[in-house]
């Protein structure tokens, strides 16, 4: 004797509707659990997408050279003597252009100085670089031109300013063509950056850019902070890295005293960290699903004791223990499925709200998270209803019927 599945589900549905407040409570618990998983994973994925986007805006096929060595390669007496690494110089930068795999390079020097115009002054970060920086970082100009393409060691008194620097120092006045005093020198403003264009560490809106040789004079240093190198294609990133290491080792008297970071490696690291983070928050959120499951178990146990007479009746009408089990588990299944569906909707709504509030963060819940939350919710509901349902199935019919 087998009860038809659709009848079992309809009976379960009628039973759930028969106790609306209890049902709503359990639906809510389930929905909150599922929504938590969806929202938290969408946040995690959003953070990952955000970081990835930031790296992309840093430049494509980018290799970054910095002075000093951060990796350890075993002990070597030279390490003890040569505490201070050699500086990266303009000549080093120049040497890196001599490979076909290198599309362009931009040496970078940073510092900070007082910028003044007609009595207004402000402390600004100064970025010394070359004309290639614009293309490497995918930045855009609002007005004028970028730094001129000259030999790297030619200092020219020109500067390109960020949009915020422009409004704060020049106010409503025209900035292009004006002479801006930076430190003890004067630079003619030849360009203004578009306000869009952030990237990790540097806010373009706040900086003043001058030719790298000028920056070296201004800060009185021959060394560079970074050299940005753009490889011709993705597949040439590794050859370029090797080329840089070899070239600079040769130029630095056989000492490997620079660190070369490929953007890919950094991005992959961040991706792994944030991916792990997403899993972790999904796991934490899943705990709320288990809590919902325990609530379902509790409420189902109460339901079984309240519906003892009904269970006795079903037995008298010919329901075998497996059928009673199926009826009660179907209630949990219907409940979890509905709760999970409501939770999915709620979670998507939450992710949508996050995207509205923080447009920079692409907070979309990954499909795996939504699907897993759904399955875990239904599995939890079934698992935790097993005990109450078994209790119902094992009830003694005579005792159950004698209860009024």
């Amino acid at each position: 004797m087998r009860t038809r599945a659709e009848d079992i589900i309809r009976f379960a549905w009628r039973a759930l509707r028969g106790f609306p407040s209890r049902t709503l409570l359990m639906l809510l618990a389930m929905a909150i659990g599922v929504a938590a998983v969806v929202v938290l994973t969408s946040l995690g994925e959003g953070a990952r997408g955000y970081v990835r986007g930031e790296f992309a805006s840093l430049g494509t096929n980018l290799v970054i050279v910095l002075p000093g060595r951060s990796e350890t390669a075993g002990f070597n007496p030279g390490n003890m003597l040569a505490e201070t690494p050699r500086d990266l110089t303009l000549a080093d930068a120049q040497a890196l252009t001599r490979s076909f795999s290198v599309r362009r390079i931009a040496p970078i020097n940073v510092g900070s100085a007082m910028a003044a115009w007609q009595g207004r002054q402000r402390e600004v970060p100064i970025l010394g670089s070359s004309s290639e920086l614009l293309a490497i970082r995918h930045w855009e100009l609002a007005q004028g031109k970028f730094l001129p393409s000259l030999e790297l060691d030619r200092a020219t008194p020109v500067c390109v300013i960020g949009s915020r620097v422009r409004t704060e120092i020049f106010g409503p006045h025209r900035a292009l063509g004006e002479w801006l005093r930076i430190g003890d020198r004067r630079f003619r403003v030849i360009g203004v950056m578009a306000s869009e264009g952030r990237s990790i560490g540097i806010d373009v809106q706040d900086v003043v850019m001058i030719p790298v040789a000028s920056a070296q004079q201004l800060f009185n240093t021959p060394s560079l902070f970074r050299i940005l190198v753009e490889a011709r294609s993705r597949s040439e990133i590794l050859p370029v890295k090797q080329f840089i290491l070899d070239t600079l080792q040769y130029r630095h008297q056989g000492e490997r005293d620079v660190t070369v970071i490929t953007q890919d490696a950094v991005l992959a690291t961040f991706d792994r960290i944030l991916g792990a983070l997403t899993f972790a928050v999904a796991g934490i959120a899943a705990i709320s699903l288990v809590v919902a499951g325990i609530l379902i178990m509790n409420v189902m146990l109460v339901a079984v004791s309240q519906r003892t007479a009904e269970i006795g009746l079903l037995k008298a009408l010919g329901a075998a223990p497996p059928q009673i089990l199926a009826l009660f588990m179907a209630e949990a299944a219907v409940l979890s499925a509905l709760g999970a569906a409501a939770g999915l909707a709620l979670g998507e709504l939450g992710s949508f709200a996050i995207r509205q509030a923080f447009p920079d963060i692409p907070a979309y819940a990954p499909a795996w998270a939504a699907l897993t939350a759904l399955l875990v919710a239904i599995a939890t509901g079934l698992l935790f209803s097993l005990l109450p349902a078994r209790r119902a199935a094992r009830l003694d019919a005579v005792l159950a019927l004698s209860r009024r």
Binding site: A15, R17, G18, A309, G318, A320, P321, Q323, V398
Partner: protein, 224 residues
């Protein structure tokens, strides 16, 4: 059709064993009308539950329709209950959230009958008990007599051979009680085997065969 041989049913209460049924032997022919009377604790309800396969004998043999049902599994007993036995209870035991029609439909749903086959049988059963206009009412919208008639419709919708009624008029006023008895007796007149457990001597007297129980034993068994 019902054949009980030396049935014992013992209950453990604390560390005492109570003999609810003590060597009961009883045969009921198909179509018979039996009333079971006796004081509280005499074992009459236990006897009814045992005949209805809701309870198992500690010892003894029970044959239903020449089939030994004492050795059936739980699932087989459940199926036999569904097909051959109808129950009517003092407390009606209607499912409160379901309409009269849905309550009557329950045994057919448990049996796994497809909806199109269920509809006709439910309608016929309600019609026979003059409940057609009450089909969509919930139990709390029905009078006591109507509720018990719904319960009888539910007990008979599977066309069982045996109808077991435990104090069927116990929760009813006199008039409704008499109506319910009329319904049960007319069902018996059409061939169903009717066994009624009651306290009420007036009701008990109406049966063709009267079994009087005391302390788990059959004290007297009279056929009119």
């Amino acid at each position: 059709m019902i054949d009980l041989q030396h049935i014992h049913r013992d209950f453990q209460v604390g560390d005492q064993i109570v003999h609810a049924l003590d060597d009961v032997t009883l045969s009921v022919k198909a179509g018979d009308y039996v009333s079971t009377m006796g004081p509280s604790g005499s074992g009459k309800s236990t006897l009814l539950n045992l005949i209805g396969l809701l309870d198992r004998a500690t010892r003894g043999r029970y044959r239903l329709n020449d089939e030994d049902v004492t050795t059936l599994s739980d699932a087989e007993q459940a199926e036999t209950r569904n097909r051959r036995i109808g129950f009517v209870f003092q407390a009606f035991h209607l499912v409160p959230r379901l309409t009269a029609r849905e309550n009557v439909e329950l045994p057919l749903i448990l049996a796994g009958l497809p909806p199109e086959q269920r509809q006709g049988r439910v309608a016929a059963s309600l019609e026979a008990l003059q409940l057609s206009d009450r089909a969509h009412h919930k139990p709390d919208q029905l009078s006591g007599g109507q509720r018990q008639r719904v319960a009888i419709a539910r007990a008979t919708v599977t066309e069982p051979a045996v109808l077991l009624a435990d104090e069927p008029t116990g929760n009813l006023d006199q008039k409704s009680g008499r109506d319910v008895i009329d319904v049960l007796e007319s069902l018996n007149a059409r061939g169903i085997t009717l066994i009624v457990v009651t306290h009420d001597p007036e009701l008990g007297e109406r049966a063709r065969r009267r079994v009087l129980m005391r302390d788990g034993r059959i004290e007297s068994d009279m056929v009119r």
